[in-house]
Amino acid sequence: MTETARAEEMARLLEGADPDVGDKVRIGVCSGAGCRALGGQAVLAALTAAAEARGLGETVKVFGVGCPGSCQQGPVVIVDPPAYFYQKVASSDAADILEAAVAGKVVERLLFKDQVTGEAYQTVPEVPFFKHQERVVLRHSGAINPESIEDYISVGGFQALVKAVTSLTGPEIIEEISRSGLRGRGGAGYAVGEKWRRCREAPGDIKHLICNRSSLEGLDFQILEGLIIAAFAVGATSGVVYLRQQNQKTVTQMRAAVKKAYEFGLLGQGILSSNFNLDLEIYESDSAFVAGEETAMIAAIEGERAVPRVRPPYPTEEGLWGRPTLISNAETFANVPAIIGQGADWFRSLGTLESPGTKVFSLTGKVRNGGQVELELGTSIETLIYEIGGGIPGDRAFKALHVGGPSGGSVPAAALDMPLDYESIEAVGAIVGTSDLAVLDECTCMVETVSSFINLMADESCGKCAPCRIGTKRMAEMVDDIINGRAELGLLAELEALAKVVKTTSLCGLGRTAPNPILTTLKHFRSEYEDHITAKKCSAATCSALVKAPCSHTCPAGVDAPSYIALVAQGRYDEAIAIHRERNPFPSICGRVCHHPCEARCKRGQLDEPIAIALIKRFMSDKAAPIHPEFPRDPSNQHRQVAVVGAGPAGLACAYYLALVGYSVTVFESLPVAGGMMKVGIPDFRLPTEILEKEIEAIIDAGAKIETGKALGRDFTIDGLFEAGHQAVFLGTGAHAGNQMGLDRETDLDGVIDGAAFLRAVNLGEPLRAGRRTVVVGGGNVAIDAARAALRQGAEQVKVVYRRTEKEMPAYEWDIREAREENIVLDFLVSPVGLVEQDGRLTGIKCQRMVLGARDDQGRRRPEPVAGSDFVEEADMVIAAIGQSPDLDYLPEDSELRGRWGRLGVSSETLMGDRAGVFGGGDAVSGPASVVEAVRHGQLAAAEIEKYLTGASLIDLQLAAAEHRRIEPIPEEEFQAAGIVRRSPPEADPQARQGDFREVVLALAENDAREEAARCLRCDLDED
């Protein structure tokens, strides 16, 4: 009987439906908001016109389809069969698409390609963006015309409704929904079946239903179907679809869909020939953000100010007009047809035990393939970002996933394995309902992000309850103080306390969740807050009040890059050099070897490519003589003697600045030459000796004395230095001891050497020949330098093995590229397990293959060995370049200067150790780091030594004065930098350069350098 009724109703429905499918090739053009914005409608028009012109009406059907979600690839066209996925389609592609479609071929150039591997994917299910999704709610998106009820019926639409109305009772439907475990998709995830049951059982003759239709464009009929089933199940006879007016397209489509549903007898009196009635109205709201809160929404629909009301009573008992009301969001309803159609068991097979099914999220932020995605609940963040999202543009570091928009929470990189489901999202301090997933990378300042969130929440607070109205404002003020450098450290505790008060005491969800971004970031990113407050540092270099310009802000030494760049553009090289040397006396060196973090945050980089700051620096320092900046000098300082131990970048910088303000400084160096790692760690092909010597000369010229071949602990002691009249000592002894691999016979087998020792020998010109087949173990700069040096020392084959993948390699990517150009082989996920010897001679290294396993605290996956994957790499030389440590043998075992991890222990603020007058810096304190970081230590130590000796610092005085420097930009009419592309340096030919140690990277021509400098946007001049 009921089966017959169902069949009859479906037949009746289908009678009115003309799905127009047949054997045609369906060419669907996305009609979602994203694609429309990118010109999707023009593509649709072009395809339609082209099909018509070719008379293909019988062969193909061109139509608009609902949003498949891949918004960043828009406009998107799907040709079915076999669901070819074309992206970034232009109107001019219409002819090619049509021809290919008719011929059953594919248009290769429009396919989606992996930006890293370049691999092309043909059909929708193959595209990684879709491959890892599970589509229940969005099952028809991209396949049917969302405005056609016939299309919807043709794919099985309204079958669930017919089943519900003709063969199920309300309680049976509620039971099925309860068993499915479906939870509310719009809020905190209340059990849907339970909510329906409460509404059904609430006393009252008239019941209402409200659908919060704030998402899911193009699913109108599916939402309507779910909604009508729900109304039938709970006994609601009138419903309201709540829409925000801003989205007129959604409003228009929903109106049309409701009208259609009435025409088809799916709404109104006697639905599907039953005695079930449902009238549905559309409510267009111009209300605020808070109207998303259910009680505020009810107030808005009743014509009141959209502010929340106290609960209980809950809407299921007293809702719209005081009557029992079922209120759910569109996605919840959109799940219902599938559950009724395919059954609760099927639904439970998706997702997790507690969170069955799927969830639609909007994936935004620093991700390659953003858009609307539907995930099986429990999908990991890593899958989301790296599989579906295609990773982070520029392969920058993943910093955090922000879940839930302005009232959500952030999880750090360490949580990449976190499953996205109700429980874990709630644990983050967010709710599933907000559906926003924003990927943040290292260029995002967490504090600034939080500031924008809390300011938004403060603006959107309805103002009703005090904690939200005042509290959100106060929190916003506090966070603004932090990003503007006005806060003190105690504010963090106040902020945290206030956030908890607001969370605990606010009336509605808006206030209760507004503090989430603050609370979660204070938990996971507290040091970033602290950096803003104490060091006035924004690691992302985005907080404008703290950041004069991102380049100078990210420079460890704080070099005033925008000023010298501006001067180079004007040809004023001497001034430029002096400004550089004010904070870093090694422009020539750093122009060659610096990893230039200054370029990573360059504003111009957001436009096209960052300014080639390092090249400009190198150019100007090659061009001009090393002119000293003018520091205030105190003649009485010449009677103050300071000893510097170690002539590396830290020591030399320290000596230089002390000399510039008049101190008598002597640098003691254990090696026969000065320069430290700059001399013995970096091969000549990256840093020619004469360049180094020139800049060391300048330091001597400034008044510092250097005594080489004098080793602390061997030739003198710290006590001895003081006794000899030095009033302060700076220890910049570096980190020259190579770490060991922990393999048998590593230390005594001939042919095994550590990377630092190898490079030192090479750089000191010691007679060392590389092995014929040299294997370098490690992935850092030393490994790459050693490999390339080995090549130049006569190796025939050089192979670098690294236990992780290239992505994780610490070496600079340009050095890796150059190494590859020089035919050095890199083998990843390989770890050494033993040395192979024959007759006391090294013949190879035994390795095993690795895989990446669980993550460490930084979110990096730990490599784990693959059992039985051992192999032997033939080698007659093995260079272990797996890091260095300071060699502190010169200190007594119980010295107060010994710090953690075998380093010098000094105060991070003053760099002074527990012994008065003894300072330390550079690699000896920080472990192996860069030249520019060592320089910062050197300068900081010099200023601290001044303060230690005289109570004030002339160096600081000068640096403070320089803060206000302003180099006028070149007038726009004289120079247009807009169209100029970033200059690349000339390089020596890879074949030619392998044989010798001549410099690989060459200098820019003057005109190129000046034009490059003129590309600078001068963001340092921005007014606040």
């Binding site: 100010r305 209980p312 603006d459 607070s461 904690p467 606010s506």
Partner: protein, 901 residues
Amino acid sequence: MKTKTETFEITLNGSSVSARGGETIMEVADQAGVIIPRLCHDPRLKPSGACRLCIVEVEGDAAPVPACATVARAGMTVETDTDEIRELRRALIDLFLSDHNSDCLTCSSCGSCSLQEYAYEYGVRETSLAGRAQHRVIDQDPDPFIARDMSKCILCGRCVRICDEVEAAFAIGWQGKGFDTGVGTPFGASLKKTPCEFCGQCVSTCPTGALTDALSVGKARDWETTKTLTTCGYCGVGCALELHAKNGEIVRVTAPTGVNNNNGNLCVKGRYGYTFINHAERLTTPLIKKDGRFVEASWDEALTLVADKLGAIKEDHGPGALAALASAKCTNEENYVFQKFARVGLGTNNVDHCARLCHSSTVAGLAIAFGSGAMTNSIKDLEEADTILVIGSNTTEAHPIIGLGLIQAVREKGAKLIVIDPRGIKLTKFADIWLAQQPGSDVAVLNGLMHVILEEGLADEAFIAARTEDFEALKKVLPEYSPEKVEAISGIPAEDLREAARLFGRAVRGTIIYSMGITQHTTGVDNVLSVANLAMMTGNIGRAGTGVNPLRGQNNVQGSCDMGSLPDVYPGYQKVDNAAAREKMSRAWGAELPVEPGLTIVEIMNAAAKGDIKGMYVMGENPMLSDPDVGHVEEALENLDFLVVQDIFLTETASMADVVLPGATFAERDGTFTSTERRVQRIAKAIEPLGQARDDWKIITALSTAMGYPMKYSSAEEIMTEIASVAPSYGGISYERIAREGGLQWPCPDADHPGTAILHKDAFARGLGRFHGVEYRPPAEEPDVEFPLVLTTGRVLQQYHTGTMTRRSEGIDEISCVGCAEISPRDAKDLGISKGDTIRLITRRGEIEATAKVTRRSRPGIVFMPFHYKEAPANKLTNPALDPIAKIPEFKVCALRVERA
């Protein structure tokens, strides 16, 4: 409404306390004496949960819940004062203070500010968030009563909610959102340009100094004043209020919540119309007119002169040449003493007062139909009705606090409201049906309603059979009043009439409320009888939520009638012409009493004009403004040989007197008023009478003694004891009981009787209710070619009666449209009149000038004019034609011509 019947226990701070179903945690705690702090809560309002200060811990709940909005459940365990809760409250107070202009040194609310109190209690000395942004809104357009300093506003929303939920004025609302949320008027307009009624409910509920009483600024703070609980001296609702006095001056008026029908609410007059009390023009010494000028006199001199003059007239012309006008503004005790003086001292029954001009038709009509002429039910009881019919009552303006209750019943309890009124008064906005009848067509309209009810079988046959008589008389006339015919008479569309008839006919508890729109007609008694017919026909008498409820106008108009300040009855409505009654009173008063009933007011004036009345004593009345055809009144008074006026100001009438005696205001004396619901309530002395002014009863007893009939009472209470001994319905009333029971509703025949909330419960006062067949008669004067419009008169909210008090109260005139006549836009257009024009209103009796107020409240053909203004005395125009029985003049209808002045 939730039923609050079931009782259960909850655990509150470790103790078991009892709660009733539907009660909130806060209500339960309040009853248990556990005080939970609150800023956004007011028992008059629905819970809002906005301030969050009342958060408490409920076992099992993850987060604290607001006690004000959380309903107690059986077995619930609640902690209201844990360390965590206190800490959260401290943080909230800190937040409030951070956005509050803590100007405690000069703030009017210092000492009565809840925020200050909690800051003290929770030890939040100052905000930890000092220096942060504050939202400060300067009130750019102050008004006379409500001082707004929004820098102290904590956005609790009580003012907005009370303006909406209680006052239904919607004058203020929310603006903006987030931190910039504010409270204000639409487009920031002055309150004077909004529907603000200046009731000050917003001020009364404001927990801080954001809203304060402008009249009181700088005068006294809460702890400096002595507070006297008393009863309002304005209309008949009888609101409880508290007079705040400092140094002999009333500096503020408030109302306590939970006391009396008004529950903390007042209208603009009650709350702000008090500065007349200490007004400079108050009479503070007796005045004697010499050579046309008043000169100050001693009490001895004045009383001797009065006694001599009145004694001489009595001597020369007989007691019938004397008349006394009592006052509906004076206390029961004073009215009692006054009529006793008239009857015994002067020896005449010529005693009447302005009740004649408002509800004499009620007294007469209901006496005939029911046997008793007062409001059958109680004020609170009106809200129990499921259907309310309001006819001829502009309740929200004339009886504002009852008006609030009606609107509340409609908005909160879903009662149906039918309004029959020619004007678009405020109540029509809340009405399910508004029938706008032509003034004077009420009998036809009421008959029309009954026609439909009868025709459609909606009459309560059982009630008619069991409780009434003479239904046939009514039945005989009804067939003539088909809706179509009624439409022709009244202008009410027949279908609307039918709808209304069905609505009222189907009511389970239907109540009828009326006022002077029914009574002040030449058909006043007919109108009242028709109302009684309708109530009886539908069985709506004697039960809660039903009844015939005439709303009495003045504060003690009910009491002054009860006290026998009428020419035909002694106290307790004992008939003068009833020999037994006369005998009883004669014995009680120890004197012979005149036999003939006396003259009514208009008859007295006519007699004076003719020279039959030669001496008159007026206590607290101002017939020169209140009576119809005042030109005629003036002639009458001028014609007198001797006129004594006892009042608090030199009124238009007093100016004509030979001797003026200074009386006391309600703030300066003890006594009782009887409100419209027959409730006898206390007034209490808050300050000493100004200057030499005296309690009115003291003046009368002194005069009586001087005239040879000694009266001696030591206090007002002693007078009440005498009243109880002679007036049967007051038999059980005493000051002691009033104090204990908060007022007593008569009939209260003996000390054990609880008073009577609902009259005619099991039987009518006269036994069976009596139907009357009433035929429609047109008003005495109808529009014609010469006078094409209808003039109807009445009150406005802000003014009271002849303005003696309100017009001397600071600020009242500023917010009312002084001397304005309301005219419809269409008539205005036809006559070329614009808003604010001076217009001339002309009737057959005279003409006045007024300011045109063009408003849709007036329908075409009808001009409304309040009678309060001496600048534009509407009663120069009104028709003195009288109802044949009640002798009430037809204030509500006369023919009018309007011209541009």
